[in-house]
């Protein structure tokens, strides 16, 4: 047997999202040591949901496999979610809808993609907390907005990051993608994007005139 698992993206819209995500995770995979190895980085203990899970059930993080983050790690994870997707006029913050718990579910999952992300996220959370203490003598979760921004600005764009921040920048990029994936799939995230589908309609009318006008197709 010499087949390698590939995950087919049969739905083309999902395909696109995945091509983008794959591009992002390829960057994240070049793992750079960020800090001390974490005790929690051991392999997760749980089993997967198997090839025939109940598709009708509603799942939440922790239902299928044990979660990983300690209270302190969870606090850092939530703070970073809130820094990446804070509350604004349109929608609440990613932390307020529990996206950090989704990230915990993600890095705790017993699957290859998620296990590759696990040390990236755990080491990254340790790094950002250590960096906060080094610069401001506080946990990352206790920084004010300007202090948090001072750290995030150094790592938010890998091509611009100084060499000493290269590893942290890879972590940040991956964490931003996980935060976005967690947030924009929630009802408030979908509302933020003004996604108004997933509801039965009596007819499909096609794009409204104002859309066609904007595209120059009216």
């Amino acid at each position: 047997m010499s087949t390698t698992p590939h995950y087919s993206r049969l739905d083309r819209r999902t395909a696109v999202k995945w091509m983008l995500t794959a591009a992002a995770s390829a960057v994240a995979l070049g793992r750079t040591p960020l800090g001390a190895a974490m005790a929690g980085a051991a392999k997760p203990a749980g089993k997967g949901y198997g090839t025939d899970p109940d598709l009708m059930k509603e799942y939440k993080p922790g239902d299928l496999w044990p979660l990983t983050l300690s209270d302190a790690q969870r606090r850092t994870a939530a703070a970073l979610c809130a820094a990446i997707i804070p509350a604004d006029a349109e929608s609440p913050s990613a932390a307020s809808v529990g996206v950090h718990d989704f990230i915990d579910e993600w890095i705790s999952a017993p699957y290859p993609d998620q296990q590759r992300d696990r040390p990236v996220v755990l080491d990254g959370l340790a790094w950002i907390d250590a960096e906060a203490r080094r610069r401001f003598s506080r946990d990352f979760a206790d920084l004010d907005e300007h202090q948090a921004a001072a750290i995030c600005d150094d790592v938010c764009h890998a091509p611009d990051a100084k060499p000493e921040f290269a590893g942290a920048a890879k972590f940040f990029a991956r964490y931003r993608d996980l935060t976005a994936g967690g947030f924009y799939t929630t009802p408030v995230g979908m509302k933020d994007l003004k996604y108004i589908g997933n509801t039965p309609l009596p007819e499909f009318k096609g794009p409204p005139p104002e859309v066609l006008q904007k595209l120059g197709l009216a």
Partner: protein
């Protein structure tokens, strides 16, 4: 009527059908509606889309936001259960270590098989597609032309419901009046692409998909499909009346609990069961077809996956529709003194000339689609338009450097947000985060378009499957070993695809995402691996000459006159058109032939 267990199987079936997907479903439907007693064997479990389809669940209530895993390889909410590129305990192998020569095999062990999640693209092959060798000297002709198969396309389209339009384009057949359902209106991104592509000379027309845009005409269609058969008409009228029209929500690949799209489990099997003439044994992993002293097929041996026991069932005829390569595997594993190299393999061609579709794709970000006024773009849960192959003339004149065409599937827009939404946009945002990032995600959401080419592969001597001399599955059944080769025709075709898509994206004012095809590393061609498009056909080639084909023009093996192949295995070529509709048309036609033989008492 019933899903049964092995011990409930009867002794007097007319036909055993192996497999329950497009081919097996159509075969069982045609046979049972005309009164034949059928036993269907399915390797996977019973599956009911009406009860099991996650229609409106958003990704926030799925594990891992619905992302694909080795357990659910096309995403958590994809209809496929117990399936994927790899199956635990059911390996297959590749003869070559070269990644470019791999074949990848998607299987779905469940009632209805791959029809539960397919894209529902239902294109007819055209006249050229049945006579490719006569046209350009390559590959093989089929032993009949388009006119022979057209009535079966009509019947299948009326039965399953296909939306589309008659556009009168070359080698892109129209359907008779009243057969197709009205196509849905195109989405914004589809209209924008159409505008630019039309200016480039690339036609964009409604795609044909097996989705009901209105309810089936249950008063008139049954009589057109089953003239002179009041019972079949009554059964079909009831089945048709139980299918709703699309309500323009939820992606089709999840399956459809309101039966608006075609899957074997909602369209073929319910009326077939309702006739009282069909028994289905799920969890039945078929190993071999058995022969009687006269050299006729008299039944099959399968492993009951529930009890682990070997079971034997008998019938007057056997139809294999296990998926092209799985049917080949059953034949090769059915060895006897008469057929030491596998059943019906006197030609030595069983397993030869397997085919997939050439796949190449490109993704672009389209600034014109930014910040569009919000509107609902879910539509029919899949594509509304596509581009049929448009360069027949240039190609025949030898101007393209490759012999066969491709069609373009494409799309984009404001679909149901998933795990990848908002990801990977650093190159546009320079790594923003915070409130600015939220604004950027709003701006870029719905602006990504994908273009996929789906092209014809020409059969070649280097693409085949055989039994692996060593490897067995968990029931001890020898597994398939694949050999795969793309010829220069396919590689050049894939290059043409990506070049064309880059031009389309440029004409839309967009930016290509991912690797620029013009700067690809040497040796890495922009072509997907064999099997990746999941259009697996071939392996029991159909023909008019018993020395050069495995199946006769009726999809019946030359060697065993009561053994039929009613999946994609008989395909002599694999046109760019998605194969499922042709599989169903061939299966209906083969089942008609089988019925006539049963009536004549031929076996």
């Amino acid at each position: 009527m019933p899903i049964i267990t092995s011990s409930q199987a009867k002794l007097d079936y007319d036909v055993i059908v192996v497999g329950s997907g497009a081919g097996g479903g159509q075969t069982a439907y045609t046979l049972t509606m005309e009164g034949a007693k059928v036993l269907m064997l399915e390797a996977g479990r019973d599956y009911d889309p009406v009860k099991e389809t996650p229609m409106f669940q958003d990704n926030s209530v799925a594990p891992l936001r619905g992302a694909g895993t080795p357990d659910k390889q096309a995403g958590f909410y994809d209809a496929t259960v117990d399936g994927g590129w790899t199956l635990s305990g059911e390996p297959y192998t590749n003869a070559s270590e070269d990644p470019a020569r791999r074949f990848e095999w998607w299987r779905a062990r469940m009632l209805g098989g791959r029809t539960n999640h397919w894209a529902r693209h239902a294109l007819r092959n055209g006249p050229y597609d049945f006579k490719p060798r006569s046209r350009d000297g390559l590959g093989f002709d089929w032993p009949f032309g388009y006119d022979e198969i057209a009535p079966y396309y009509d019947k299948v389209e009326m039965l399953i419901g296909v939306y589309g339009e008659n556009n009168g384009l070359e080698n892109t057949p129209d359907s008779p009046p009243g057969v197709l359902q009205p196509p849905p209106k195109a989405r914004a991104s589809e209209l924008l692409a159409k505008d630019r592509m039309t200016k480039m000379g690339i036609p964009v027309i409604p795609i044909h998909r097996a989705v009901l845009t209105q309810r089936l005409d249950s008063e008139n269609l049954p009589a057109r499909l089953h003239p002179g058969n009041p019972k079949a008409q009554r059964v079909l009228a009831k089945a048709m009346s139980e299918r709703a029209a699309c309500f323009w929500a939820t992606p089709c690949h999840r399956g459809c609990s309101i039966r608006a799209n075609y899957q074997s489990t909602t369209v073929h099997l319910p009326p077939a069961l309702d006739t009282g003439n069909l028994d289905i044994v799920p969890n039945a992993m078929v190993r071999e077809v058995t022969l009687n002293a006269k050299g006729l097929a008299d039944g099959v041996i399968y492993i009951d996956k529930v009890t682990g026991r070997e079971c034997r069932v008998k019938a007057r005829a056997v139809a294999l529709a296990a998926s092209a390569c799985e049917s080949v595997r059953v034949l090769l594993n059915s060895k006897s003194a008469q057929f030491p190299h596998g059943l019906a393999n006197s030609s030595g061609l069983v397993g030869k000339y397997i085919l997939d579709t050439v796949g190449g794709s490109l993704v672009g970000q389209i600034p014109l689609l930014e910040n569009l006024p919000p509107h609902n773009e879910d539509g029919a849960g899949g594509a509304h338009v596509y581009s049929p192959w448009w360069l027949y003339g240039d190609q025949l004149a030898g101007q393209l450097g490759f012999a066969r065409g491709y069609h373009i599937e494409f799309g984009g827009g404001r679909g149901l947000p998933g795990f990848g939404t908002g990801a990977g946009i650093d190159r546009f945002t320079r790594g923003s985060y915070g409130r600015r990032y939220k604004e950027e995600v709003r701006r870029y959401y719905g602006t990504i378009m994908w273009f996929s080419g789906r092209g014809e592969m020409i059969p070649n001597e280097g693409s085949f499957c055989e039994l692996d001399p060593v490897e067995k599955d968990k029931w001890g059944i020898p597994v398939l070993r694949f050999s795969w080769k793309w010829s220069e025709h396919e590689v050049r075709q894939a290059r043409h695809m990506t070049k064309t898509f880059a031009e389309i994206i440029a004409a839309m004012g967009g930016k290509i995402l991912g690797a620029d095809p013009s700067r690809r590393r040497a040796g890495r061609e922009p072509i997907e691996n064999g099997g990746r498009v999941i259009h697996e056909v071939g392996g029991t080639i159909i023909g008019a000459d018993p020395g050069k084909s495995v199946t006769d023009p009726w999809c019946r093996t030359w060697d065993v006159k009561n053994l039929y192949l009613t999946d994609g295995a008989p395909f002599a070529s694999n046109a760019d058109k998605n194969p499922t509709l042709t599989i169903m048309a061939l299966a209906w036609r083969a089942a008609d032939h089988l019925l006539a033989e049963l009536k004549k008492g031929s076996f």
